[in-house]
């Protein structure tokens, strides 16, 4: 698939020989190829490829093989239009000529983004413009190893080396490098000290006990043993103390980094992921890394030193016996590598079951009201039991396989001891070996086998910890919002002139929610956005706040493309009362002051008066100090909304966005808020969305959205006179409720 590597532009892909020939024959010498892309489906029934080659004169649809009957050619003049038809799991690009049958190109979802751009490009070509294709497209394959990427434009897990992850983890220790260095030295020191006692025992047996010399030497050796133990004990205390000191600090930094990264990620990142799985990254993955840094890494280091030291010692003492000691090591390594994959699978299944169980628990606690209201406690219990059972099964099988593995390696190891006893015993009988040496050997064997056996275990810890670290780094590395874009235009004082220029937007490629939005809003104008549910009103304002960026076209504020405005400046001057008011777990005052952390209590009071929130707050026993509960659970919907409005008022934004800000209010309260809003909108550019059209009474202009486009704009009277969509909306509302009738 070389076309992924060497293409000049993303829309001029490298042609295979056969297609190159066909193109050469079909086009004239001076024809310029503007688009040259491949599909991944021949028709709806077959994967395969078809090539679409577009020049300024014609469009070619070519099969990659020699056969020509399916190849087609349409001249640019005879092409009426192109359109994309999204399907479930893919789509087709229809080239519609003025007469004759349309030509279809089929593609799977993997290419829908590309073909959305291609379709737009061809449309512009038909109009005689430049195709104007985007320069950058997210990569689907790794540019190094050409493997499919887990995420478009993401990192290739195969290409980030384990050592890179290790170095990055080490990077978190760097701020504490003196302590870390001391730690390593201490670790090496204690490991080496541990090697001494068996050797001293050897001297006690061979030089003291078997020769029957005086007790003086015994005192000396025992004294030495005791001294060593004391030193070992002290250095162990210091080592562990240092270890936790460094490890927990590094982990704290890692967690802070992860949380910071999560805050800066764009909303698109969150759209694709379950909250539960992100929380699990925050909790489980950092715990894995924590365990690794605090317990496993030092253990591995000291045991590695121990193992190497013992092997060297054994060989210098008696190389023949040493060979026997090492005899069981190759089979252990072979067995370990054979069953390793299975063990990993078991472990993964176990962790999947865990995350299912946790998701279910958190979901049922969050939805406890709904569960109770429909008395589905028993049903939830059953579902839980199902998850619980699967978890048990997964735990049992993973434990069991570990056990089998453990016992097997143990068994092999005991062979080493048999060999040493047998061959060592023979050597003693032959007077080639002394008893003390044999005893030391046996002691060293167990000191050697125990860490060896755990090495496989450590390997699993390392794998898990690195997997956790990689998941964390993936979040940290994900493209965050461009807060620190250096060439951004600072805009500390926005005037409030907002201009949509042919803006279009799609959450999923090819399925445009908004298209061709052209709208110029003067400073301090109030725009009412109207349209049926799901038409894209909230989406439109999401573009102003830059929660999402327009897929095509642009939005300008005071003449500057918002993508070039410093994000912090932009957001700090936009006030948003979102459709779902969100309150944090804290007091009412804290929630109002969320938009301006240093607000004085007087300011909070003023905002709350203006939002007509004061009257209900004052009735609460704790007033402004009332705790609202998680997500504001202890407040009524209308109360939450008023707090959210007060928050926006306190923020004192230049551009105010009210998305259904008054939907949960009764008409009397809404009336009060109307006044508040009327006060609020003075001197600000305002976008207000409301289903209850009376709310938009104060708007200078109403914009009616229909099927993702602006269908009508104008004042209330103008739109009523037009007798279009707006007129019908008003009429329906008047019919359904006389009270809410809109005054002209």
């Amino acid at each position: 698939m070389s076309q992924f590597n060497e293409s000049k532009s993303h829309f001029i892909e490298q042609l295979p020989e056969t297609v190159l020939d066909k193109v050469g024959k079909a086009i004239g010498p001076f024809e310029e190829v503007t688009i040259q892309v491949t599909t991944d489906m021949v028709d709806t029934h077959r994967y395969g490829s078809r090539w679409l080659v577009v020049t300024n004169h014609r469009l070619l649809v070519l099969a990659p093989d020699d056969s020509t009957p399916e190849d087609m050619q349409i001249s640019m003049q005879s092409l009426k239009t192109v359109h994309m038809e999204p399907m479930v799991g893919g789509g087709r690009l229809m080239l519609v000529p003025y007469d004759g049958e349309s030509v279809c190109l089929f593609y799977s979802n993997s290419l829908s983004l590309k073909f959305a751009e291609v379709a737009e490009g061809i449309k512009r070509l038909i109009d005689g413009d430049e195709p104007n294709l985007p320069l950058e497209m997210d990569q689907t394959r790794c540019h190094k190893c050409n493997r499919l990427l887990p995420e478009k434009g993401g990192i290739c897990p195969a290409c980030i080396k384990k050592t890179d992850t290790l170095f990055r983890l080490l990077g978190f220790i760097m701020p504490y490098k003196t302590q870390a260095l001391l730690l390593v030295i201490l670790t090496l020191f204690t490991a080496m000290l541990q090697l001494a006692p068996p050797y001293i025992i050897k001297f006690i047996i061979d030089d003291v006990l078997t020769t029957g010399q005086s007790a003086d030497q015994l005192y000396f050796y025992v004294g030495l043993l005791f001294g060593l133990s004391v030193i070992l004990w002290v250095s162990e205390i210091v080592r562990r103390w240092l270890n936790t000191w460094v490890g927990f600090r590094a982990i704290e930094d890692l967690r802070t980094g992860l949380f910071g990264a999560l805050q800066l990620l764009p909303l698109r990142f969150y759209d694709k992921r379950k909250i539960g799985s992100l929380i699990s990254r925050m909790n489980n993955d950092s715990e894995l890394v924590e365990d690794y840094m605090i317990f496993d890494a030092p253990f591995i280091l000291s045991n590695a030193v121990l193992v190497i030291g013992i092997i060297i010692l054994l060989f210098t003492m008696n190389w023949e016996l040493a060979l026997f000691v090492l005899l069981p090591v190759p089979p252990i390594i072979i067995v370990a590598s054979l069953v390793w994959d299975y063990l990993e699978d078991y472990w993964r299944r176990w962790s999947i079951q865990w995350s299912r169980l946790t998701t279910h628990i958190s979901e049922s606690i969050n939805g406890i009201r709904v569960i109770k209201a429909f008395s589905q406690e028993a049903y939830e219990g059953e579902r839980f039991e199902e998850h619980n059972q699967s978890l048990r099964k997964a735990s049992v099988s993973s434990e069991r396989s570990w056990l089998v593995f453990f016992l097997m390696t143990n068994f092999f190891m005991s062979f080493g001891a048999f060999f040493v006893w047998y061959f060592g015993g023979l050597q003693i009988l032959d007077n080639k070996l002394q008893l003390g040496e044999l005893m030391a050997f046996i002691a060293y064997i167990w000191m050697l086998y125990t860490p060896l056996q755990w090495f496989s275990d450590y390997y699993s810890f390392i794998v898990r910890a690195f997997a956790g670290a990689e998941r964390i780094f993936e979040v940290i590395d994900a493209n965050s919002e461009p807060f620190d874009q250096t060439d951004a235009v600072p805009m500390p004082l926005i005037k409030g002139h907002v201009n949509f220029r042919k803006a279009a937007f799609a959450y999923d490629p090819g399925k445009n929610v908004l298209r061709d939005i052209d709208l110029e809003v003067r400073p301090n104008e109030m725009i009412g956005l109207v349209g049926e549910s799901g038409v894209g009103k909230s989406t439109l304002i999401n573009l102003i706040t830059r929660f999402y960026d327009a897929s095509r076209g642009s939005i300008e504020i005071d003449g500057v493309d918002i993508r070039d405005i410093r994000l912090a400046d932009l957001r700090s001057q936009i006030g948003l009362v979102a459709q779902q008011s969100f309150l944090f777990n804290g007091t009412i005052a804290e929630n109002i002051a969320y938009s301006k952390q240093d607000a004085s209590f007087e300011e909070i009071l003023r905002a709350s008066y203006a939002a007509n929130a004061h009257e209900f707050i004052i009735k609460k026993p704790d007033g402004y100090d009332m705790l609202v509960g998680e997500q504001g659970r202890r407040l009524a919907g209308g109360e939450k909304q008023r707090i959210a409005i007060a928050r926006a008022i306190l923020h004192d934004p230049k551009i105010l966005i009210l998305d259904e800000a008054t939907s949960s209010l009764d008409t009397a309260t809404e009336k009060k808020i109307q006044e508040a809003i009327a006060r609020l909108v003075a001197g600000r550019t305002t976008f207000a969305i409301a289903h209850r059209l009376s709310t938009l009474r104060a708007a200078n202009r109403l914009v009616v959205l229909d099927a993702g486009r602006i269908a009508e704009t104008g004042s209330h009277t103008e739109l009523m006179a037009r007798k279009g969509i707006f007129y019908r909306l008003v009429k329906t509302q008047q019919e359904s409720s006389a009270i809410m009738a809109v005054k002209g």
Binding site: M41, T44, H45, R46, Y47, G48, M87, V88, G89, G90, R92, M94, V96, E101, S102, S108, N109, S110, S112, T140, R147, L148, L149, P150, E151, K152, P157, A158, K274, S277, E344, D345, R348, R349, I352, S355, R356, A467, E470, R471, D508, A707, R728
Partner: protein, 181 residues
């Protein structure tokens, strides 16, 4: 644009024809036709006509063969037919063609390899549409079990793959799938 389309958008003053309940329209009253430009037209009782009709399944996973819904140009439902057995043959053929085209779900015939790496799995499979490689992230979210034997897999791009009967797969493929899930 053809004249029939503009007529539909003028239809605003008339009350819409609400016949979406399965019981209200029988399949035999419907006629689907395709014109030269591949545009679909739906006629009910040979007097009401819609162009640029879409045929969709209401529950593509759980009831793929029932509850066929017809949408107009704007995506508003014209009617829904519970049991497609009552359609005449020509209409039924077009419906099947349309459904076939709309739902690009490939059936996995055998698995050549699945590689697992940190919550991401790389699949290389043989499907009814040919060979295909794809990537699945968070198997626990994107591999859905439908009943005890059916599996629906959603890859990172939103492509769909189905295994209608797990037990019909060869042992090797089954083993690889089991190890992934």
């Amino acid at each position: 644009m053809t004249s029939s389309i503009s007529k539909i958008s003028d239809r605003t003053e008339q009350p819409p024809v609400i016949i979406s309940h399965p019981g209200d329209v029988a399949g035999s009253q419907l006629r689907l036709t395709r014109d030269l430009k591949q545009i679909l037209h739906l006629t009910i009782d040979s007097d009401r006509t819609w162009s640029r009709v879409k045929v969709v399944r209401a529950a593509p996973l759980t009831h793929p063969d029932r509850y066929i819904s017809f949408l107009d140009e704007k995506g508003v439902e014209i009617c829904m037919i519970d049991d497609p057995g009552s359609f005449n043959e020509e209409t039924l053929n077009i419906i099947n063609e349309e459904l076939d085209r709309r739902y690009l779900t490939s059936t996995i015939l055998s698995v050549r390899s699945i590689r697992n790496e940190f919550g991401t799995s790389y699949w290389d499979v043989e499907t009814d549409r040919g060979e295909r490689e794809f990537v699945v992230q968070n198997a626990e979210e994107h591999v859905r079990r439908l009943g005890s034997h059916r599996l629906l897999i959603l890859d990172v791009d939103g492509n769909r793959f189905e295994i209608p009967r797990l037990e019909k797969l060869d042992r090797k493929s089954l083993g690889m799938i089991e190890r992934t899930l």
